[in-house]
């Protein structure tokens, strides 16, 4: 082949692959340590369900990006600028799946994390001094932050998918403790009111845990009662994918690969 022909081919291929990259939808995952633990490689024995999402998708057709990060609440994921970065790149036809709640019950303005949110879905706010960021900050409710993700995703033509938080390994009278009167309920309220897809991971996984029993479920956690092990994260990921197949947001199921 002549050099000029080869060069043309390279240029054409480059343009084609660039176009493909540009048009490929993105499946963004945002959340806390139960979605991505540490760097997501499980080296401390703890895993988040988001780490297994890419394995379900044909990544030549959809890009799967797990931006979840340990320790963050619905509020600090925003105040650290993490959402802003995603929002800047978000385009029509992208998906944003979100799960927050594990870190939202903390104090609003303590010197350790300052990550708490106001309970509920209201529009009330609280003016605080954030001792970590060393600035005055207006803190809103869990529902307010969740609404922000949903609305801004929609504003860009994206498809928001709200998850209730996965249950912890906490038991009472042989039943796993549910969050159906707090964060799980609030997540559902936001999803319903804003017209987002809702994956009730709290209920669906709690149902599974109840059936398995406390002894078996213990193996699905590592180190504490919040963080899932490899097996725990995989079970949670299975529930997520099952719900996505059932609810088929947008064109997402086109990209799910066969097992």
């Amino acid at each position: 082949m002549k050099l000029s022909k080869l060069l043309t081919l390279v240029v054409v291929l480059g343009i084609v692959s660039f176009t493909v990259m540009q048009t490929k939808p993105v499946f963004y995952i945002i959340g806390d340590s139960t979605v991505r633990n540490g760097d997501g490689s499980g080296k401390n024995g703890q895993w988040g369900w988001g780490s297994f999402m890419a394995g379900y998708f044909d990544t030549t057709k959809i890009s799967v990006q797990n931006h979840a990060i340990g320790g963050r609440s619905s509020r600090t994921f925003i105040t650290e600028g993490r959402w802003e970065k995603i929002f800047a790149n978000l385009k029509k036809g992208d998906y944003v799946i979100m799960q927050f709640g594990h870190n939202d019950a903390s104090p609003l303005d303590d010197t350790a994390r300052a990550r708490g949110t106001i309970r509920g879905v209201g529009n009330d706010s609280s003016e605080i001094y954030n001792p970590i960021r060393k600035i005055n900050e207006t803190v809103y409710s869990y529902g307010w932050y969740m609404r922000k993700y949903v609305r801004e995703t929609k504003a860009k033509g994206g498809i928001p998918i709200v998850c209730s938080l996965i249950p912890r390994d906490n038991w009472k009278n042989g039943k796993v403790t549910r969050s159906s009167d707090n964060y799980a309920l609030w997540a559902e309220q936001v999803a319903k009111e804003e017209g987002a897809y809702f994956l009730d991971l709290n209920k669906l996984i709690a149902d599974k845990y109840d059936e398995m029993g406390q002894e078996e479920v213990k193996k699905l956690f590592h180190g504490d009662h919040t963080h899932t092990s490899l097996d725990g994260a995989k079970i949670n990921a299975d529930v997520v994918i099952q719900q996505l197949i059932l609810q088929h947001p947008g064109e997402l199921t086109r990209y799910i690969i066969k097992k």
Binding site: Q242, L246, E251, R254, I256, K258, K259
Partner: protein, 261 residues
């Protein structure tokens, strides 16, 4: 009255104009998707439900109509014999679509027994069998493929676009994988679509891929009463699979433009 008589000419023109415009409006009427098939497509026996009942929500109803003519228990053969296809043909017009899914009720050996009244010959060939019923009427039974070709040819003759779906899988797992129809009715549906040059949605494969991911415990929740009939959740998944198939054909099939954005 005097005014009417004086303006009779204008009124006559007005009348003519209104008749003409209404005709134009009528002929510009939105197209219809006719759906024909069996109980996995339409099943009013709740909690069972067919995917044809759940597909409307995917389409923009201001742009396109959906007419689900599928009937539980019918094979390609009995759907025709009972004049159900004639009924579709009587209103089918240019620009319409016919989505067909058969296969669940074709399997019995065709004869005049209770079991054989709906069975067809296997495959896509031209072979036939003659049945003589008690009352003396003679029925010629054809292959599954022959009946599909009949639907296709006749739909095309009206200027409609036929779309063949392979049948949805049953809740039958072998070694953790759902049983596929790619050696019989699914395969034949595909062969007919290819030989006739019409659109094919491999509904059996699209759905089986999902069922494999869901696994037997979850798939069980999508059926009611037996391993063939889906419930509302199952019907929704399968409707979504049909829509996925339509999207996969988007390059050649204008039907995709009628999907809700």
């Amino acid at each position: 009255m005097k005014w009417i008589r004086a303006n009779a000419h204008v009124l006559r023109l007005l009348l003519l104009f209104s008749v003409m415009t209404s005709f134009i409006v009528l002929s510009n009427n939105k197209p219809t998707i006719y759906i024909i098939g069996d109980s996995t497509v339409r099943n009013t026996n709740r909690p069972q439900c067919g995917w044809g009942e759940m597909i409307a929500e995917f389409f923009d109803s201001t742009q396109i109509n959906i007419s689900n003519q599928a009937m539980a228990g019918r094979s390609t053969r009995t759907f025709i014999k009972e004049k159900r296809w004639d009924k579709v043909m009587s209103t089918l017009t240019e620009g319409d679509y016919v989505i067909m899914q058969f296969g669940h009720n074709e399997g019995s050996k065709p004869d005049t027994s209770r079991a054989g009244y709906r069975g067809v010959l296997r495959g896509t060939g031209d072979e036939t069998v003659e049945l003589t019923w008690k009352d003396g009427t003679v029925e010629t039974v054809h292959t599954y493929g022959w009946y599909l070709k009949k639907f296709i040819k006749e739909a095309k003759s009206k200027g409609a676009r036929p779309i063949i779906c392979s049948m949805i899988p049953r809740n039958q797992f072998v070694d953790g994988k759902v049983k596929r129809a790619n050696n019989d009715f699914g395969k034949w549906a595909k062969e007919v679509a290819e030989s006739e040059g019409v659109f094919f949605i491999d509904l059996n494969a699209i759905t089986a891929d999902k069922y494999d991911v869901l696994g037997p415990d979850e798939v069980k929740k999508l059926f009611h009463g037996d391993h063939t009939h889906t419930n509302v959740d199952g019907a929704k998944i399968n409707a979504a699979s049909v829509v996925e198939g339509i999207r996969n054909l988007s390059k050649e099939l204008p039907l995709v433009t009628y999907l809700k954005k």
